[in-house]
């Protein structure tokens, strides 16, 4: 039981911290976004028409790239830094403490690892370098209108025709699809097989004929995700990763990538600290509700919860570091973190009383650029995506505790 760094860990942490201090562009330093936030994140910047935004994104990515830190978890032979689990944890922690954007997106975090394990040499050679360079951004096509929690029931159909698949169907919640160049998708190649065993993993150019995206505006008026339509989209069979009808298992690839989600715990801790600092100012006191005693104690509770969440994240890393695979612990982590996020947004918004109405970050009536009010809405899907809280509890109970399925 040790929450402190070993000498090696401390040295690595120092290295990351100093790198961030010297290389992180001004624009990305905390509080410098002029209250705009990051519509589309780093990838939005990367694809932006605005040359300043685009160049800053490239500059930061280049600095990281020199260290192999675009994909720090990938093996060195694939252009990563081959960091150990604990090193990844430290790296992620430090990046989160600085609120530094992490370029790479789905390509680095999901498609890359899948390719490294299941891809052919040709596929790796085609895709991995462009993920690292940022030239190609990836989006994930998994969920469908009829396949959310029950993802394996997906229906988007891929029919073999010579050396191509012909794909028809629809995906939904395609995050960042509008900024992406390529899509990886789970499609049904055998409708007769049991549902998990009739799925294949395909990659395709988003500009393929027949593939179209339609924006879905979320309840926070933001365009993050899309619907994706496939009308006779032709995808070369050589774009399939892994064997036909083994796609579900390909998609579940778990490498020893650090899966703690520590960034969440740290961002919530930072949020409380920033709020505390603001409340100490005259402006903060002006916005703060008169009867704030209850909220004050709720904030203390939220601070305690960030510790609990940190430990849950730390536990994942600790398990992985011992060469084992987290089981129900990952579900506990996700469930607790997502629900805590919502509690935090609720508590922080409460502090402003009626000012909890103000949505516009630029308004003079917006405490802290309306960030908490926006987070109150933005946090709504957190208990739904990546396995809803209900599903997580089912998994904990059945897979973790051995309770019988209903």
């Amino acid at each position: 039981m040790d929450w402190s760094d070993s000498p090696d860990q401390a040295a690595f942490r120092k290295e990351v911290r100093e790198f961030i201090k010297s290389e992180l562009p001004e624009r990305y330093r905390a509080g410098n976004d002029g209250g705009e936030g990051f519509e589309g994140g780093w990838q939005g910047d990367r694809k932006s028409d605005d040359p300043t935004r685009r160049d800053t994104a490239i500059q930061w990515a280049d600095a990281l790239s020199k260290r192999g830190w675009i994909a720090p978890a990938w093996p060195k032979e694939y252009g990563g830094a081959g960091l150990t689990t604990i090193e990844q944890f430290i790296y992620n922690q430090e990046m989160a403490e600085a609120a530094a954007p992490m370029p790479g997106g789905m390509g680095v975090s999901m498609l890359g690892p899948t390719l490294i394990v299941h891809g052919t040499e040709e596929q790796k050679a085609e895709h991995l370098p462009k993920i690292l360079s940022g030239e190609v951004a990836w989006a994930q096509g998994y969920s469908e209108p009829g396949a959310g929690s029950d993802l394996a029931s997906l229906q988007t159909r891929a029919v073999r025709d010579g050396d191509e698949y012909v794909v028809n169907g629809q995906k939904i919640w395609t995050s960042g699809g509008h900024n992406a160049d390529w899509l990886f998708a789970l499609v049904r190649t055998d409708p007769e097989a049991p549902k998990h065993r009739g799925i294949s993993f395909l990659t395709m150019d988003i500009k393929s004929p027949g593939l179209s995206l339609r924006p879905l505006i979320n309840m926070g008026w933001k365009h993050h995700f899309n619907e994706t339509f496939f009308e006779d989209v032709r995808v070369p069979v050589k774009n399939r990763i892994g064997e036909e009808n083994r796609g579900w298992y390909v998609g579940m690839t778990l490498l020893d990538f650090e899966r703690s989600g520590i960034a969440g715990a740290i961002s919530y801790k930072r949020s409380i600290e920033q709020m505390k600092q603001f409340l100490a100012t005259d402006e903060g006191k002006r916005f703060r509700r008169e009867d704030w005693e209850t909220v004050r104690l709720e904030l203390a509770d939220r601070a305690i919860e960030t510790q609990v969440l940190f430990n849950f994240a730390f536990r994942i890393v600790s398990i992985q570091n011992r060469g084992m695979v987290p089981n129900y612990e990952a579900s506990v982590n996700k469930m607790f973190g997502s629900e805590m996020h919502q509690r935090l947004a609720r508590t922080e918004t409460k502090a402003w009383g009626l000012y909890g109405n103000v949505w516009d970050p630029k308004s003079e009536h917006a405490p802290m650029h309306a960030e908490h009010v926006q987070d109150y809405v933005g946090s709504v899907p957190h208990t739904i995506f990546s396995g809803s809280s209900e599903i997580q509890r089912n998994v904990i109970a059945t897979r973790g505790l051995g309770l019988p399925r209903g």
Partner: protein
């Protein structure tokens, strides 16, 4: 950075679990609820032979010289087994204050006898005001040389009925002052309370009770801080073990109990409660160990205090949720005296409110965070 037990800690834990399963079964726990002394001297001696009373005591005084984190590993097992009796009062309320504040002579006089199981101690701190701050200490202390005389009333003193000595906190002209007071004297009158946990807590009326001065006159509150932090964290360790067992019993019951033609654990409502229980137990475990680690590894004082307050704030409330679910999952049978789950529910409350509950520690956290 690691969140697992060391090999030595695993050995300690496994040995303790096996020992307590044999020596402290449910029947013993129930017997001690009705027993006048509330503990078994035979079991007490066996624990001393295991080296447990002396676990924290330095080897030079007959102990094992383990650290506080190790002690919390052991105490988790005590909570799991609901061990009755004056173990925590003796170790945390007796050995620890003497190790923190005692003279060399006092350490030599008392620590070996605590380690050997020959002496039972308890901490007489709280009073009828039921406060946890320095202002709550109103008992009067009069110092004369190495001797201190106490007059006042202490309340909620654990195991005072069997303690050989009490560590008493009183107020002299110079401030809070501590003393080691033998219970076997006319000026110490112990009256038992009947408690929810059926443990032995007492009102202790001190009337010119004489004892050895412990630490300098007026230094008492300062000397008590590390003691209180350790004792508070120890209560968290006990709560973790208690709630872990409550949760295991509830999950087992959910797998066994059949209604509507299927185990009730196959219904989502029950499954979700179990998922919440394991989250609360695990959350409690790690936040408790963080505090224990901070104490054992000598982290900066402010960080340690914050860790302790956070641990008690969380564990007090989280374990309450766990035992509440434990009762609910059992339905009617859980409400009977004969079924065991109620043993955990009642004892959770005692530990929850010892050294301050969630509200108390949440306020402390808020203050430390500068809110």
């Amino acid at each position: 950075m690691d969140l697992g037990l060391s090999e030595q800690q695993e050995l300690l834990k496994n040995a303790a679990r096996e020992f307590l399963e044999n020596e402290c079964p449910e029947t013993h726990v129930r017997e001690m609820e009705e027993d006048e002394q509330g503990y078994s001297p035979v079991l007490w001696q066996k624990m001393a032979e295991q080296g447990w009373q002396g676990l924290l005591i330095p080897e030079e005084h007959g102990g094992a010289g383990f650290d506080f984190l190790d002690m919390c590993v052991l105490l988790e097992e005590f909570g799991r087994a609901l061990v009755p009796g004056p173990f925590m009062p003796t170790v945390l309320g007796g050995a620890v204050p003497i190790m923190e504040a005692g003279s060399d002579a006092q350490k030599a006089e008392f620590l070996p006898k605590i380690a050997s199981g020959d002496l039972i101690f308890s901490l007489a701190l709280t009073e009828p005001s039921a406060r946890f701050d320095e202002a709550g200490i109103e008992a009067k202390a009069e110092v004369s040389g190495d001797e201190v005389t106490f007059t006042g009333t202490k309340l909620f003193v654990p195991d005072a009925n069997v303690a050989d000595y009490l560590i008493v906190a009183g107020k002299s002209g110079k401030g809070t002052t501590l003393g080691i007071v033998a219970t076997d004297q006319p000026g110490v009158k112990v009256t038992q309370l009947q408690t929810i946990a059926r443990d032995k807590q007492a009102e202790v009326v001190l009337d010119g009770a004489k004892g050895q001065l412990l630490g300098a006159e007026g230094d008492g509150w300062k000397l008590l801080q590390p003691v209180i932090e350790k004792y508070t964290t120890a209560e968290c360790a006990y709560l973790v073990g208690l709630s872990q067992m409550d949760f295991e019993i509830a999950v087992d019951y959910a797998k066994e109990r059949v209604q509507f033609g299927r185990p009730i654990g196959s219904f989502q409502a029950i499954q979700h409660k179990c998922a919440d229980m394991v989250t609360d137990v695990d959350g409690s475990r790690f936040i408790m160990y963080k505090a224990a680690w901070a104490i054992a590894s000598g982290q900066p004082a402010a960080d340690t205090t914050l860790a302790v307050n956070m641990a008690k704030a969380w564990c007090s409330e989280a374990t309450r949720r766990v035992v509440a679910h434990g009762q609910q999952i059992h339905g009617g049978i859980g409400f009977t005296k004969d079924y065991k789950i109620q043993l955990y529910f009642r004892r959770q409350k005692r530990a929850e409110i010892a050294f301050g509950d969630s509200d108390f520690h949440r306020e402390a956290v808020a203050q430390q965070l500068g809110l």
